[in-house]
């Protein structure tokens, strides 16, 4: 039972302690220990990727064999894409080889960019539902988003361009957008970052002390 429950908590506490101590104690030995642990972590992450990869293969294969009939073909596409990329990477001359480069340039990159660009449509349609000016808060959010979007495109410069050179120049949309981004947005982001950091540190201390152990499967 010790090896299953207490030992992992001891490992977590020890490793976290070394990382924190290395910051506060300026001794070369502890800095070397920290650097070595960071190196270990990178290697363990590679194995974690292997685990994820095997899991993806296993789940896709199971679905391809016993899943819904109309979805089986697409599971084979996932498996083919995965194995094809790996084979191209290892047998096609490495990551700088032509086969791997072809997959990156003509399959991965366009698919990745297009999927993210697709979000433009969905964010826009979601905003129609979410941004109804029902309350003061929603109205503030709506107006700010509208100004920032308009201030970033030539249309914003065009509609408010006549203000340049007058005493109302401060209402020029790109100027307002810059002020919102550099003052109000930055202040809000700072508060969010500080709040999140405090929450993360509190959770980290709970993990080190063994109070929070959901990463061990809830035991």
């Amino acid at each position: 039972m010790f090896w299953k429950r207490q030992f992992p908590i001891l490992i977590t506490a020890f490793v976290a302690f070394v990382m924190i101590a290395a910051f506060f104690i300026p001794k070369p030995n502890i800095a070397v220990a920290r650097d070595n642990l960071q190196q270990w972590f990178l290697i363990v992450v590679t194995f974690t990727m292997v685990l994820g990869l095997l899991n993806l293969l296993l789940v896709s294969y199971q679905k391809a064999r016993r899943g819904r009939k109309e979805d089986r073909f697409y599971q084979w596409v996932t498996i083919a894409g995965l194995l094809g990329t790996i084979i191209a990477g290892f047998l096609g001359g490495g990551i700088d080889g032509p086969a791997f480069d072809f997959i990156f340039e003509h399959i991965y990159k366009p698919l990745s960019a297009t999927i993210f660009s697709l979000l433009a449509f969905y964010v826009a349609s979601a905003s129609f539902r979410a941004f109804r000016a029902k309350s003061v808060m929603a109205t503030i959010l709506l107006i700010t988003a509208f100004i920032v979007m308009l201030g970033r495109v030539p249309l914003g410069e065009w509609v408010s361009g006549w203000l340049v050179g007058t005493k109302f120049e401060f209402l020029y949309l790109p100027t307002i957008t810059d002020w919102i981004m550099e003052v109000m947005n930055m202040a809000g982001q700072r508060a969010v970052l500080m709040g999140a950091a405090l929450g993360l540190i509190a959770t980290g201390i709970k993990i080190i002390l063994g109070i929070e152990r959901s990463y061990l499967g809830g035991e």
């Binding site: 997959i103 660009s117 964010v123 920032v148 003052v183 980290g204």
Partner: protein, 226 residues
């Protein structure tokens, strides 16, 4: 623009996959599903291969060849052993061994992020908020910067007050918290607008690709272009 046959095939494929993803705007369809599953497979494979070449190869294989002394080998064997333990998760009877590797990863992440968060997201942010006050002045064109510095300080404080839930948001404290919500709403609105613009620029990039490269590749393949 000179184009090789292989290059034209590659660009044609990229354009076809781009259109396959965009076809989802009409409705979910087999062409989109094909492109989506292909993306899952290739992205998983791509990052795996990338990691093996850039992390595993230099830090394990090359390092093993150059290692001298007990500690050099120890620093290679231990993480590999932990990595193998991680894979034990796939064998139910000994899956519990993977907890050691998981515990190591969690400990590293926690130790690293506590220091990083403390340094970058707390101390540096406090410093950046307060440092303008060291040279605050309202003359020689410094008024705008001074007013902005005061607004930033008040906005940060009010938003932090809103995040503090140990005290009930009533009375004067509640009013400050309300200002904090306004600040956060402006922030979310600005972030939203900024994100939409980033996505739109990606969309423009894809449309430009279809117009300027894909179309040229098609003309090349059917013998109309150079």
């Amino acid at each position: 623009m000179m184009m090789t046959f292989a290059g034209a095939i590659g660009i044609f494929l990229a354009g076809a996959l781009t259109l396959a993803i965009f076809s989802f705007l009409y409705k979910d369809n087999p062409v989109y599903k094909f492109a989506e599953h292909l993306f899952i497979g290739t992205s998983a494979g791509y990052w795996f291969v990338y990691n093996v070449y850039n992390v595993f190869w230099p830090n394990v294989i090359v390092a093993w060849g150059e290692a001298e002394g007990f500690w050099a080998y120890f620093n290679i064997v231990m993480p590999v052993l932990l990595g193998v333990f991680m894979l034990m998760r796939l064998i139910p009877s000994i899956a519990w061994i993977s907890r050691w590797a998981m515990a190591f990863s969690v400990g590293m992440s926690v130790g690293f992020s506590i220091i990083m968060e403390l340094q970058t997201n707390i101390l540096q942010q406090i410093g950046a908020t307060l440092s303008p006050f060291a040279s605050l002045h309202f003359n020689n064109g410094g008024t705008a910067a001074a007013v902005n510095a005061i607004i930033i300080l008040l906005a940060v404080l009010s938003a932090l007050v809103y995040f503090f839930f140990s005290k009930e948001h009533t009375g004067a404290y509640g009013h400050v918290a309300k200002v904090g919500i306004w600040v956060l709403m402006i922030t979310f609105g600005a972030s939203f607008g900024y994100t939409v613009m980033a996505r739109i620029s990606l969309l423009i990039g894809r449309v430009q690709f279809l117009q300027e490269e894909w179309w040229v590749a098609i003309k090349h393949l059917i013998g109309l272009g150079s």
